[in-house]
Symmetry: C2
Subunit: 351 residues, 2 copies
């Protein structure tokens, strides 16, 4: 399959490939989500949350909903970062109000999980990628994704989300050799999974390291940078030129090193990023994505406009993908999203 | 009272005043805490947690315990950042396992709290400062402290700690005028409180902005930097030369601007700070404090030694106060603290 021609027509890919676009391409993390009434309706038809991820038609439907409503420049596969542990054999369920709950396994048990059939279990997700690509407008980029090994490991070890993922931090410090085997297992499984997403039609891949911000410098190097470097290298060894967006949340102090070591095409940034530093230090090296506080989308109005304008004014002259600094929250008003898209797309006329 | 002579004998103050000390002075955030059996014994004698803060003899006792055991270079007043809302009339209680619970009040009600008698209610805390200073060895610095207005406000509005203090973030965006009145109220009350601590014998003041890391750039400027600037200025207007340590946790991207705008003498840093950047960008301007991941203290052994050595090697040639990047956790072994103090103090001989 020749993936070059879409790069010309898809704005977001032009930015990942080194181009400058203004107004910038725009999409939102968690754009297929509970803030949308049509999502809630589809979600109600599925059994559990993972059933939604594992039913290609439903996953396709929710992926397409925000594209229909807002015409974002990118769709992102509807799935969850925890399908990897689930596919590896650590049972995952989502409990209303409690978040994810994973089968309690020790680190010793986790490293013995069998990666060989993980990809088979993820077949429905890969099927969804193909269905989504076929249904998307030509100009819309399709992003595949996975969780970064560190972040996925934090859930596998704690069995759930915790305030600072202390169980995994402790395990990594106490038994780095065994923890490293778990990370390697996740790198391997993630490479297979991402390659399959590319082959099914994903244009680029985002890797979410949501819990990167609980690691100190040496641990960040070891558990955030190094696995991401291997992941990017591993995918590109099999699918040369694959485009990556890395998102090491809460770790702005290490962003420059992360970028230099991993060879990603764009870096996702949360709302604690200082915009002038992003412009001066990061944008000359790669595209940047994000920084809008999702709370501004909840509040809307002038508060939202000021947030948008600050980003466009400081980062608009460089390579930018407009996005939030984290996922849109369920309490956001869909009309505020409409206003955001309109303002970003009108920016060319205002500047 | 002439406060100059102690500056000569107290190592930590020499660093705050612009000097270089190696091995660096050392203390720990939350050094009087649950990891110590003698603390738990005293705690059991008090009724609630706030009774411990409001009983000068008990607060003095727990403040002195880690000094007796480890000979730290600084003691820090045993109290809590939420004594300010409590003194302002918003009832606070600490529930085992749940953390702080504050009387539910709306922003409208909070701005009407009466600051005029707050200092009277804090008299027992101020009395403790005097008792502690009298009991401390001459060479030990005494730190007073308060919570930063933003962080205190997040608890006042949410009524408790939350994963990202969304209620206060939302209130600040929706009603900045009224939120600003709450912040001003806290600045005023905090200035009175800190001046009283200085007059009672505190050598320097640490301001904890534990929730600074949930603010975007514009909001950080408005709710973290500006109130801190007013706080420092307000105290120094009444007590010239007062030494400040600011600790805007989770906001490394904004540290440089925070330092430049507030005029603090030292900045506290959590463990997501990149050490070489700290050395090159921050240390030439002021003293730096912290960065050791408290989890390394829990694990101990080589993991602790490597964390200590990385800090001493990268930051030891500049102005440094050795500390953790956040409070010591209850599960830390007191013997690991002994090992840490020993290693830091032996550093002069090793380098």
């Amino acid at each position: 399959m020749d993936r070059s021609p879409p790069a010309v027509t898809r704005k977001l890919l032009r930015v990942l490939d080194g181009g400058h676009e203004f107004p910038p391409p725009i999409w939102m993390m968690r754009q297929a989500g509970r803030y949308l009434p049509e999502y809630r309706a589809t979600r109600a038809k599925a059994g559990g949350f993972l059933d939604l991820c594992y039913t290609p038609e439903l996953a396709t439907e929710v992926t397409l909903q925000p594209i229909r409503r807002y015409g974002f420049d990118a769709a992102i596969l509807f799935s969850d970062i925890l399908v990897i542990p689930d596919a590896l054999g650590q049972h995952v369920r989502f409990s209303e109000g409690e978040g994810p709950l994973l089968q309690p396994l020790t680190l010793e048990q986790l490293v013995d999980l069998d990666a060989s059939s993980a990809l088979d279990r993820l077949a429905p997700v890969i099927e969804a990628v193909g269905l989504i690509r076929a249904a998307l407008p030509t100009e819309t980029a399709l992003l595949g994704f996975c969780g970064a090994p560190w972040t996925v490991a934090t859930y596998m070890i704690a069995g759930r989300g915790t305030p600072d993922q202390a169980p995994a931090r402790k395990a990594a410090l106490i038994d780095p050799e065994r923890f490293s085997r778990l990370i390697d297992l996740l790198v391997t499984a993630s490479i297979d999974y991402l390659v399959a997403q590319i082959d099914a039609g994903a244009d680029a891949l985002q890797v979410f390291d949501t819990w990167a911000g609980v690691l100190d410098e040496a641990e960040f190097e070891r558990w955030a940078i190094e696995p991401m470097r291997k992941l990017v290298e591993g995918v590109r060894a099999r699918r040369p030129g694959t485009r990556f967006i890395g998102f090491p949340k809460g770790a702005f102090g290490f962003a420059e090193r992360y970028v230099a070591a991993t060879g990603i095409n764009a870096i996702g940034l949360d709302w604690t990023a200082p915009l002038a530093v992003v412009r001066d230090v990061l944008q000359p090296r790669l595209a940047v994505q994000g920084t809008l506080d999702p709370m501004r989308l909840v509040v809307g109005g002038r508060v939202l406009e000021e947030g948008i304008d600050a980003i466009l004014e400081t980062l608009g002259a460089g390579r930018l993908i407009f996005n939030l600094g984290h996922g849109i929250t369920p309490d956001a008003d869909p009309d505020h999203v409409t206003a955001m898209v309109k303002r970003v797309r009108a920016a060319g006329g205002r500047s």
